[in-house]
């Protein structure tokens, strides 16, 4: 049986439909990523998963426990790291960890092996107040606290937002180690490049899942031919020029290149002639996660 089963969840705040008929399942020891911009509904969904918010309709079960009926059991087996830092700022690093361990009826020693790799990095500052830590250290402490009772399901709401590229890579390395301990992880992020580090990802926008797939398969939702254009000079100038062409369907900047789709394959000759005349190198590429996300956004 899947570790997490989410069935037709709906949630509204007044007139705003925050979650529209969300369903998915997560297997044990899987890293399931939810990728979407702010306001997509990621945090509402996560709060429902960890029994902190009631859905208007639909059901969620974690390890077989219904999050509404059996919320007490759910809270014992789930570790949750909210998007906003919510540890006690006026307790030290060590006191926070001890507090969370005690709440779950355990102590730091019992599951120390699970958090060692993370905690060892903040241990030199264990007497420091949590409120005085840097962003990266706060994040490591919050993860340690979420793991201290060895949860079966770990729910992480945007753990890498505002974190630099190096720390993000390290954080994902940690998540893989935790997953290898048999823990199921559900994690959200606004950084699309992090999709590659998940086993499966859901692309979320305006309260809906636009698609769920493995990172290597997600591009299959992108049905068109995608061209990468590399100009000699400014990609921005090329972008502006392309948008004036009648065969141009969508053109977007991607680093120093432009990604382009054309209206119809019949116009390909015309487009290739334009590229040749303007000395632009062209090749067909497989859509990346951002290309796919933008394409799905258009249809939703």
């Amino acid at each position: 049986m899947p570790e997490v089963i989410v069935n037709s969840i709906n949630k509204s705040y007044g007139a705003l439909k925050a979650l529209k008929d969300i369903s998915f399942q997560v297997e044990k020891s899987e890293i399931f990523g939810i990728i979407g911009p702010d306001g997509a509904g990621k945090s509402s969904l996560f709060r429902i998963l960890v029994s902190l918010l009631l859905p208007d309709s639909g059901t969620v079960s974690l390890s077989g426990f219904d999050v509404v009926q059996k919320y007490k059991e759910v809270r014992k087996i789930v570790g949750y790291m909210p998007g906003r830092f919510s540890l006690y700022q006026d307790l030290s690093v060590e006191e926070n960890l001890k507090f969370y361990a005690t709440v779950f009826g355990t102590d730091i020693q019992e599951n120390y092996d699970l958090i060692r790799d993370i905690y060892i990095q903040i241990e030199p500052f264990k007497k420091r107040l949590a409120g005085k830590l840097s962003g990266g250290m706060k994040q490591k402490l919050a993860l340690s606290c979420a793991l201290i009772h060895r949860p079966q399901v770990l729910v992480l709401d945007e753990p890498t937002t505002g974190v630099d590229a190096v720390s993000r890579v390290e954080f994902w390395d940690l998540l893989h180690k935790i997953r290898n301990e048999g823990i199921t992880i559900i994690v959200s992020t606004p950084y699309m490049d992090e999709a590659a580090r998940c086993d499966r990802v859901a692309l979320m926008q305006k309260g809906e899942f636009m698609g769920i797939n493995s990172p290597s398969e997600i591009h299959k939702s992108f049905k068109k031919i995608l061209y990468e254009l590399i100009p000699d000079e400014s990609a921005y100038k090329l972008l502006m020029s392309l948008r004036n062409e009648k065969w141009c369907e969508n053109a977007w900047l991607f680093g120093q290149s432009v990604h382009l789709t054309i209206n119809s394959t019949k116009e390909e000759d015309e487009f290739l002639l334009y590229a040749k005349t303007n000395k632009i190198s062209v090749r067909r590429i497989t859509a990346g996660i951002e290309d796919t996300f933008m394409e799905l956004m258009k249809n939703s």
């Binding site: 979407g36 911009p37 702010d38 306001g39 840097s134 962003g135 990266g136 937002t161 505002g162 974190v163 630099d164 590229a165 190096v166 720390s167 993000r168 890579v169 606004p190 950084y191 699309m192 490049d193 926008q205 990609a235 921005y236 972008l239 977007w252 900047l253 991607f254 680093g255 120093q256 951002e290 996300f293 933008m294 956004m297």
Partner: protein, 245 residues
């Protein structure tokens, strides 16, 4: 390069907090109209340097000239000639779109006639004419970011500082935002921008990367990729920042 073409000149900037050296002898210049990416790991010293460049904090030592003004003696003039936008704080939720524009424009002392005509022009460009009286809290994040940027350059500053302007927005909005940045830089406004999205570093004319309080590299994205022999700016960043603490 002629000196007059540099809108920011920094020579041997040092900023210490007690024994801690946050900015360790930084020297760089930014050209007028340039899109300058200011990257670095968390804690590398970016925010400290930006606060000094914006006239909000004194350097410990070094020579600094921002928009033609001295960073020690002419901080008020600097503030008047720059714009600033950050992801965390930009607009007032409980004011409408028009009220926010009026408020910021008023702070910069623009006269009401000009505010009015420029506001109408701006709302038209952004396509916000129908929602001009909507409270900011009811405006979607992507639109808010575009408005925040427009407000930051409303008084036509020489330089606009953008501190992680695209955090959390969808990929389409992120790109539209960078198109606005390009357009603005073509009008001669210098863009000084920080970001954690490494693909955005590729949109900059030049990029500096700070590691442990020092500038570890400064060049065009093309040259940086060549020097570090990697395919993208993410590779450059990881190579350099991993060398730090």
């Amino acid at each position: 390069m002629e000196r007059s073409e540099n809108i920011i000149e920094v020579k041997n900037l040092v900023k210490k907090f007690g024994d801690f050296v946050a900015n360790d002898n930084l020297s760089f210049s930014v050209k007028k109209g340039e899109i300058f990416g200011f990257l670095g790991a968390n804690g590398a010293g970016k925010t400290t340097a930006i606060r000094i460049l914006c006239g909000l904090s004194f350097p410990t030592s070094g020579e600094l000239n921002v928009a033609g003004f001295n960073a020690y003696t002419q901080r008020e003039q600097i503030k008047r000639n720059i714009g600033y936008m950050s992801q965390k704080f930009s607009l007032y939720d409980d004011l409408t779109i028009v009220e926010n524009i009026r408020f910021y424009a008023g702070i910069y002392g623009i006269n009401s006639k000009i505010i009015e005509s420029r506001t109408n022009e701006l709302l038209k460009t952004l396509g916000f004419e129908d929602i001009r009286n909507r409270l900011i809290r009811d405006v979607p994040l992507g639109w808010k970011q575009k408005l925040a940027f427009s407000v930051a350059v409303f008084h036509k500053p020489s330089i606009v500082f953008l501190d992680e302007p695209t955090g959390g927005v969808d990929p389409v909005t992120r790109r539209q935002f960078w198109e606005m940045i390009n357009e603005t830089s073509q009008s001669g406004i210098t863009i000084f921008v920080t970001t954690h999205y490494m693909d955005e570093a590729e949109y900059c004319d030049r990029v500096s990367i700070m590691v442990d309080g020092k500038i570890a590299a400064l060049d065009t994205p093309q040259n940086l990729k060549k020097i570090y022999n990697v395919g993208d700016m993410n590779g450059v960043f990881l190579t350099l920042a991993r060398g730090g603490k």
